[in-house]
Subunit: 398 residues, 2 copies
């Protein structure tokens, strides 16, 4: 058989991360590669109680078909949260669509907004899953560089002024995957201004915002403009295995998305939505959960960053993230971290090479380290193994 | 904003069924419209026990990210079931993809197989959800008529012989939605032969097969050819609110589908897969569940058919289905059942007009009645209300 899909995806990146996950299932591998949340962050006992209550009290409704845009309990909770966060009223009807994880939000948005050849703006480096979801709809990616303060919105401004008209601009403003960067307040404001001035839609993906180590949160881009679709998920703050995310956006776009969602899978799991809503809508629950899990990530982040500083010093450079799950690094002596990876795997430590997060996938000196699942007390071992691999890689290229 | 999606879906059918469901939420409406399974068929107590065990014993794994093609427990169970049902070995790896309901299977198949203008063969009448999923990818539908023995495969044979080369042929062989028809053994064999002879893929969608009132099951089309993708789901035999379905197919197609699934939503809910597998993989459980729920549907089907015979006699014609949830009818005196519908709604009974299940949506004399959720003892009332509406409709057109 011969199909265009096969032809047009021949060059499609397989997920370097998923392929790696297979390699990292060996004994005693210390994996700084995966994007999995910390298993000890999951509120299993609360979930167990909620599931039991739900299947007892709600009866058949908890496992029956439900509305395409989400169960009203969850949309009601989201409307309250986001009316406060965005500083304008978000309606329960018409502005919210619950999705099967926020990955599905990206798929649906690309499906309704992108025709072959349309321009989509991403950062570099970019979240791999977003690139994968969008590239099936054959856009032309326009890459805007990022730094430790997020996308270089000034660069975007120049390109828009020069005539660039993207279908949307995709950003991860908080604790970016992979860069760890948080977009500055000034850039958020400017991005929103550009959206309004050039009538461009912003897709603001915020899966990690709740895992914040210190400081106050910055306002979402969607609080400065209505030309934004804001995505988030329960995957990191509660648990990913239920696959419940959501998007908040302009009624027109949400109407198309709901139509595409109905055709794609009718609706997101009724049971999963109700179980998770049962937890987060309990007054105080989310604050307690945050207080319980943020230290897990913060301690691991500090342990990894300290170990890298101690073990590699000037041979590696990075900015310490203020939240999320990822630390983005650059090796001074290497120009291709995919070769470092195989040496690292031999020594029992895994990471993701930087080129997995670029559109062109050219070898580069960056690497992403996830500190989410390795205990703080093992970070020293992990970095010791890494140093051995770096030494060997430098000798091989020297 | 102006996007091609909006333009190209301007004429897209909104789901007549979903729109109707809103109307049927009024007091004392007897709804023969919806496609919801019987709430009293859901094994709530077993689900409650399984959820409790799972969140206790499996721990974090039950709510963590998992493999794109499905958790290995479910794929293992499916491999065993389908190796037996199809009479050839179905491997745990490479031939199975677990989906977010079987609606998602249709979306993913259309995404990987259909380019704008490609031909897709459907029956008439056709399952609305399939048409909606596929039409977003802009195919040309080639409609082959059906009768009480399923798709007229002889008509398809003539068109293939004349040069038709569809991307795939979509059939619902058991207790078709909406027609209630079961494809005969001869037609199944011929369809498989045509698939092999003309190198055409069959998409065999079987959500209702387990709800069989009598007789032995007929072998799936996929048991006669490997050029078939077989879809099914837990939605009708256990509960739909978890959104767990699956597809079994040729490794090449399943590889593309898995890639598209990863981009679309990473994977289906880990927890939902494990809970449902916990039930169905328990020896004897599925037989007991079937024995418990089939009589619910059978009694309601008989009650509805008897009431229609008694109340309308020769004014309505239908074939009694041997399973599933739907009874497909033709009114002798009417040529547009959408007008009948509004009269019926006024009297407190709902159904779906036949043209909702056609590609062209021209008014027609058919109607689909679902007997799934109305108790047998209320069927007399429902039909009495319907007769009043028919009388009125006939007077209005006479």
């Amino acid at each position: 058989m011969s199909y265009t899909f096969a032809r047009r995806t021949d060059g499609l990146r397989s997920s370097a991360i998923r392929d790696l996950l297979k390699l990292t299932e060996v004994d005693d591998m210390l994996s700084l590669a995966g994007g999995l949340p910390a298993p000890d962050s999951f509120p299993l006992l609360d979930l167990r109680r909620a599931a039991d209550r739900l299947l007892g009290e709600h009866g058949p409704r908890a496992v029956q078909y439900s509305a395409t845009d989400g169960v009203v309990e969850l949309r009601g909770w989201l409307a309250g949260e986001y009316s406060a966060a965005l500083g304008r009223e978000i309606a329960v009807e018409g502005q919210i669509v619950v999705t099967h994880g926020s990955q599905q939000a990206l798929d649906l948005l690309a499906k309704v907004l992108v025709d072959p050849g349309d321009v989509v703006v991403t950062e570099s480096p970019a979240y791999l899953g977003a690139v994968q979801a969008i590239e099936l709809f054959q856009p032309r990616f326009e890459v805007v560089p990022g730094d430790e303060h997020g996308m270089r919105v000034d660069v975007l401004a120049d390109r828009l002024a020069a005539g660039l008209r993207p279908r949307f601009v995709y950003v991860v403003p908080n604790f970016h995957n992979p860069s760890g960067a948080t977009m500055s307040l000034d850039r958020r404001r400017l991005l929103a201004e550009l959206a309004d001035r050039f009538e461009v839609l912003i897709v603001e993906d915020d899966p990690y915002g709740a895992i914040r180590f210190s400081d106050d949160p910055l306002p979402p881009v969607a609080s400065f403009t209505e030309r934004a679709v804001h995505l988030s998920t329960f995957s990191k703050i509660v648990a990913p295995g239920f696959r419940v995310g959501w998007m908040i956006g302009p009624p027109e776009v949400m109407g198309w998305v709901a139509r595409a969602k109905q055709a794609a899978d009718l609706h997101t799991s009724t049971f999963a939505q109700l179980v998770l809503t049962d937890l987060v809508a309990t007054p105080g629950w989310l604050d307690e959960q945050r207080a319980r899990i943020v230290p897990i990530y913060r301690d691991r982040c500090v342990a990894l960053a300290d170990a890298l500083d101690a073990g590699l010093g000037e041979r590696i450079s990075f900015h310490r993230p203020n939240g999320g799950m990822f630390l983005w690094t650059e090796f001074a002596e290497l120009d291709d971290t995919t070769r470092l990876l195989s040496l690292a795997l031999d020594r029992g430590v895994a990471f993701v090479p930087g080129n997995a997060f670029t559109i062109d996938q050219e070898p580069d000196p960056h690497a992403r380290f996830s500190y989410a699942t390795v205990p703080a007390e093992r970070m020293g071992d992990a970095v010791e193994r890494l140093v051995g691999a770096v030494d060997r890689a430098v000798r091989a290229t020297g």
